[in-house]
Point group: C2
Chain length 404, copies 2
């Protein structure tokens, strides 16, 4: 008789955002007349930029003609896109990343979930707490996390690096030595970030400890301050210890269009084995490339028109962030984030935990956010709001919150 992967049974019933979606759907069904404003999941609301739409239409037309039709994509992604990424995201920033060190994919969520596969199940992971749930859940599925303690809400074999108001939501080097370190800056969910000097400390630590940093830079486009690194490859020595994950979801509104990439430098090795080769083998065997039309859309993100239009889109969302920050402060909340990231991290009012505040906000203001405890035990007592709504909805949500 066949058996299932019983690591799956250790997981809570559903992924955080699926659980929230169900809760909101149930409330809406009971209260069909209420207009709910969603500032929970980090989903964008602005349409794709004109340069991207134009590239999509053009690529669709190519697919209509046998002479310009595109079948299976090259394993690593089309050269036109990988070159654009290498130039704009790395060379132009003085970083040494070659086009063939870039693996195009259908998004950073998939990559951040799949990347653990190329490592031994013995590897010990370190994560920030709170943290994007995918890093932990996918390691649970792989059997890398030990036993879950219902009381502390922690896995026995995971190294947690608390990010709290005390350390300005920046993790400290772990006491125990990890094999894999997940870092995400600007951070989801706290909206905080660290400076280039601070990131250099992590790179030096990883190289010394023989650890790999899995660096999620999905929110890089929202950086507004000068001393914040746009990529881990700005740090010296990152080529021997870091994998970088990037997404087109937040800088270009691709949450429903799906595109991302992962950088694995060829210098990143375990003995003689290049991690690059293992990921290439995985890509070739389990994946068949992002759609041609979507890769052409990705190329347009790096065109002059695309860049300019997307700068406006980021500014639009960051204006929302400012609106949320200001409004919450006026309403007496303690807030952080929102300066280099589209997320605002607020302390829940006294005597309310994260889920209580979620219910309170949903019922009393019809506003959906994300309970901080959903991201890990140190997220308890916090709450995440995103700046990805429309400006009108953002203003309306804040008015409702202020009126509570």
């Amino acid at each position: 008789m066949f058996k299932v992967n019983d690591n799956y049974l250790k997981l809570k019933g559903s992924y955080l955002f699926s659980a929230i979606a169900k809760k909101v759907a149930a409330y809406q069904a009971e209260n069909p007349d209420r207009s709910i404003i969603r500032l929970g999941i980090g989903d964008v609301t602005q349409p794709l930029a004109p340069a991207i739409i134009e590239a999509l239409h053009k690529a669709v037309d190519e697919m209509a003609d046998a002479a310009t039709f595109h079948g299976y994509a090259p394993d690593l992604g089309y050269e036109f896109l990988r070159s654009a990424i290498a130039k704009n995201d790395y060379a132009d920033r003085g970083c040494d990343i070659a086009a063939d060190e870039i693996f195009v994919s259908d998004g950073a969520k998939c990559d951040s979930g799949n990347i653990q596969e190329i490592f031994s199940t013995d590897c010990k992971i370190a994560v920030c707490d709170p943290v994007y749930p995918v890093y932990v859940d996918t390691n649970v599925m792989a059997g890398r996390t030990g036993v879950f303690d219902e009381k502390t809400e922690m896995w026995s074999d995971v190294i947690y690096m608390p990010c709290t108001a005390e350390n300005n939501f920046a993790p400290e080097l772990p006491g125990q030595t990890p094999d894999l370190i997940y870092l995400c800056f600007p951070n989801n969910p706290t909206g905080s970030t660290i400076t280039k000097d601070q990131l250099q400390v992590w790179v030096d630590y990883a190289n010394k400890a023989g650890a790999v940093i899995i660096y999620d830079a999905a929110y890089e486009a929202y950086i507004s301050e000068d001393n914040v690194p746009h990529t881990i490859f700005e740090c010296e020595g990152a080529r021997t210890c870091a994998i970088e994950l990037k997404s087109f979801s937040k800088n270009a509104g691709f949450t429903g269009t799906r595109l991302g990439y992962t950088v694995i430098p060829k210098d990143l090795k375990c003995g003689d084995v290049m991690l690059h080769s293992l990921w290439a083998r995985r890509h070739g065997t389990k994946y068949n490339g992002a759609p041609y039309i979507v890769q052409k859309a990705g190329e347009a993100v790096y065109s002059d028109a695309g860049k300019q239009q997307l700068k406006g889109q980021v500014a639009y969302y960051m204006n929302n962030a400012k609106t949320i920050m200001t409004g919450l402060k006026e309403a007496g909340y303690t807030v952080s984030g929102g300066v280099n990231a589209p997320y605002i991290w607020l302390k829940t009012p006294e005597k309310m935990n994260s889920w209580e505040f979620f219910d309170y906000l949903l019922k009393e203001a019809n506003v959906v956010g994300t309970p901080g405890s959903g991201f890990g035990p140190s997220g308890e007592g916090y709450f995440r709001l995103t700046a990805f709504g429309s400006y009108e909805n953002t203003v309306a949500a804040l008015e409702r919150i202020k009126a509570l």
Copy 2:
């Protein structure tokens, strides 16, 4: 110090089709004046049908307007697509599959590689020999296959079910009891298939043995004979033992557009655990949906216009299959397949093994095929040609082969 997943190191350097692509590229570089005809990888060449192009343009326009923009897709896929699948591919064939038992994905290759994750690493797999390499390679990566014997080219913990001329390329029930049985009909690579009665024997066997059949029906659209099942759910009892994988690549030319789906009936359980729940958890955690525009394209596949246009496309390729079959027979080759599938399986000429014939055909006729031994030891002495080229190229390739 971190360690890698050393199961990856047990694999041959690269995925079969990546290896072939490199070999062909090297030959082309050395012989830039030669016009190579590619009948190797099963990649389509006809453009997307007009109904699909129209749906894509319309969906792209929706993405350009905030009022109709689509962000993250629902976990399982859009209802409009899942309903169209449930109706057309199942209800209309008298099969009992609900829309919420269908998981939309970016293709059957990914799904066929990922599906093993929800099973215990103790599970023993059975595969046809020859077989689509993804089934085996992904189980190697998961550590489920034991040791590779260089001599026999077999993994110690895999049950091989030889498909040879002797059994008409139809596998026999395995002697040893497997937990997971991979079946693909119409078959890749042999192009053969089995009848509904024959498939019923497998379903009965799986239910009795407590095994799960992972049924790859990617080539279903090419079935031309009456007694061949279009889905495993035509068989009684399949709801308690079968998972079905489907692709839009071959019936609708989506190799570069990427869309597929997996069906897991809610009756398929291990004790109390529904495999449906585990796959839903995986989808929710490691995947973020196929692009909205691609799901709209998938919907158009089921429109009246789409159906009619694609019928023509399938007929076009099957005419190629006939051309290949006839041409090869005229040239004295022993051939099979090509009636219910776009693949032709030919015996290599005496004293030439599969790779020798590959090299011979590449150099002497500038035609690329796939060596049968790349699909497993029983594929040795065979060679696969696909009907997915253009008619002109197919005719030209056969003329070159006949002239050898």
